[in-house]
């Protein structure tokens, strides 16, 4: 069996670096929307790194990968659907 130790170490280092960058972005004086987009991008990257490398998802079959990834856009859709009426509460 191949020794994946160096990949695991590099992954941990990158995860730590991305966490530091996230904390930096939270205090950066940029637009609010820019901040949110950057923070979600960093979080999504970190989550993919954990899933693909530490959870070995990249070695699983395409079917299993699809089963796991399909709920993500569904969650985003539900969020948008849930927030649809919020602008009305601002007006009222």
């Amino acid at each position: 069996m191949d020794d994946h130790k160096s990949i695991y170490i590099k992954n941990a280092v990158w995860l730590a670096v991305l966490t530091l960058l996230e904390v930096g972005v939270a205090f950066l004086s940029i637009s609010r929307m820019g901040q949110i987009v950057l923070l979600f991008a960093f979080a999504a990257t970190k989550m993919m790194m954990v899933a693909m490398i530490y959870m070995h998802l990249r070695y699983e079959t395409k079917v299993l990968q699809w089963i796991l990834f399909i709920p993500i856009p569904a969650g985003i859709l539900f969020t948008i659907a849930l927030m649809y009426d919020i602008p009305f509460s601002w007006v009222g």
Partner: protein
């Protein structure tokens, strides 16, 4: 006609065992539970609830350290699996112990954080923001606690020599759960603490 003719095998899940598929299924369901909490928090916030800026109430440097700690435990967990896949039983026990201690330290820091908040009158009923914070982080904390207990059970079996280079499926399943706890924390940290 030959009744015992075998059906061609076209397994969509490859070599994944039933136990592993069961854990993946649990992870999907549990992930949706976390999504429900985070989406509810987002909806309450967008609906006009009073929400402090990042770092105004919560201790970001401390929690960033806790995030780093959880990343380290993910590394030690994958190293435990790597060790037993090579037949290294002492390596398995060593890395599982490190992971368990990391989880306990994470919980200790979280408890310390809660203690300071409660001491400063930031409790569950203080505001919608406080409710979202406590419910989401407590739910995650319970997962860490469950993970620590789960590790302790697997560690006991490891110390009895149950696992070997040919028998490491339970360690892999444990690893999936623990990495999921880390993965969810990444999102909780971003949404609750940083945004």
């Amino acid at each position: 006609m030959n009744q015992t003719q075998s059906i061609p095998l076209n397994d969509p899940f490859g070599k994944a065992t039933n136990g592993k598929l069961g854990m993946w299924l649990f992870i999907i369901v549990d992930g949706l539970s976390f999504a429900g909490l985070l989406i509810a928090g987002g909806a309450l916030r967008a609906g006009g609830a009073e929400w402090p800026a990042a770092g105004e109430v919560l201790n970001i440097p401390l929690t960033a350290f806790n995030t780093f700690l959880l990343i380290c435990t993910s590394f030690t967990m994958v190293m435990a699996l790597n060790a037993i896949q090579k037949g290294d039983q002492s390596g398995l026990s060593k890395f599982l112990t490190y992971t368990m201690l990391g989880g306990i330290l994470f919980l200790g820091i979280q408890a310390w954080e809660y203690y300071h908040f409660i001491f400063n009158d930031f409790v569950l009923t203080t505001s919608i923001y406080a409710s979202v914070f406590y419910v989401t982080t407590c739910f995650h904390g319970l997962h860490v606690l469950s993970g620590v207990i789960y590790i302790a059970c697997i560690l006991r079996a490891a110390n009895l020599g149950v696992y070997s280079a040919d028998n490491w499926n339970n360690v892999e399943i444990l690893g999936l759960f623990w990495h999921f706890v880390d993965l969810v924390w990444i999102l909780v940290f971003t949404i609750i603490y940083l945004i």
